[in-house]
Symmetry: C2
Subunit: 230 residues, 2 copies
């Protein structure tokens, strides 16, 4: 029985764009685990009530229900230890936790400011009011103002947030070293989100992070590359 | 024969304050390796000419001379595999490289702006002209202006740069997980530098990073805590 994963979807159910869900799609593929994804919208709180919270990704694996992308990655590593490791051991896992926290706090936020208005055009109509009001409360201004300010004034800050990645890619092809690890999936999901939901060019054409992203799009039979985009 | 390490010193040869040298002092202690440190000043280029470059740390281990803190950490891990691991394997090492790049690009720079003028009061008189001119060229203003602007306008940005660390410390005591890894030594060195060279309070009294730093100061017989400060 495949693992079931509730996966944020747009008005088009094939459009999947959550950065956290993409981390887990890649982690499942990394482990070679079959998955059946269920399209989920921001306001479908009842569908994942079994997880005791209201956000995706949520997975159901037999009798186990797990939420939160980091917790799911740790669950997969613990429950499928015979399959390719996401972390390469306990210290690699501890270090990945810092990389996860870095991506969430230093990369996702600046990325959001570049595409948050575009999201509104792609999500399910029933999600629009919820999305606009919750995000405008968070940013303290309209989504139009956030995105306009982002693209005019904050693109460099977003690109600068990836400086550590560029330094690492000078000497190793993946954040995991010679092969992808969950650290790669963390960053991949973070960038797959704007890639799927917007046509805005987040990275300069000569950015080594873009070359890394292109390689990552080809992983696991082109899982990321074959994903629908707006 | 102990490993010899060239270690940045102030006018007082006991004052050791390089963030990169501190990373390696902690890494050597982590591995239980004896070290003989040689006080070195910015302008002592000849003393480390054997390394083919002009910065510390430089170590001499028998016939091997290694420079650059990251390269030295990798050298120690490769040459002393039977001693406690700094990285917990290849993936942990790859992830630590990203943490190293993050600390260098996102934490060290903001930290420098808070203490760079104080450094001038502590370094050897022969280094003063070199230090001032090289750093003022880098910052594009006087060291006095950098530090005044830093303390007035950039303290929050420095503290914000440590947000990922705070998130991680909610659920694990060390960046390495249940025990310190080289990731801890990277951050420890980064903070030991302002701690030794300045009396400016970099962290708020209730910051969990400060509690972590206090624990780290006690590691290896209080190696960090016993270090002289200005």
């Amino acid at each position: 029985m495949p693992i079931v994963m509730y996966d944020l979807a747009g008005a088009d159910p094939a459009l999947r764009f959550s950065p956290y869900c993409w981390r887990i799609r890649m982690a499942l593929a990394h482990k070679g685990l079959a998955v059946e994804t269920v399209p989920w919208r921001f306001t479908d709180k009842d569908a994942i009530a079994c997880s005791g919270q209201g956000r995706v990704p949520v997975i159901r694996d037999g009798d186990s229900v797990v939420s939160d992308s980091w917790e799911i990655a740790c669950y997969l590593e613990a429950h499928y230890p015979e399959r390719p490791s996401l972390f390469g051991g306990a210290v690699g896992q501890a270090h990945a936790r810092l990389i996860n926290a870095w991506a969430d706090s230093a990369v996702l936020g600046p990325a959001a400011r570049l595409v948050v208005r575009d999201i509104l055009d792609a999500i399910d109509p029933k999600d629009v009011d919820y999305f606009r009001s919750s995000r405008e409360q968070r940013f303290g201004m309209t989504l139009e103002a956030v995105q306009a300010d982002g693209r005019e004034n904050r693109l460099a800050a977003f690109r600068d947030s990836l400086t550590p990645v560029r330094l690492v890619l000078r000497t190793q092809p993946w954040l995991g070293g010679t092969a992808p690890s969950y650290a790669d999936h963390i960053l991949f999901g973070t960038l797959q989100w704007p890639r799927c939901i917007s046509r805005f060019e987040m990275l300069a054409a000569d950015d080594p992070v873009l070359a890394w992203q292109e390689r990552a799009l080809d992983l696991y039979g082109g899982l990321g590359r074959s994903a629908p985009r707006v």
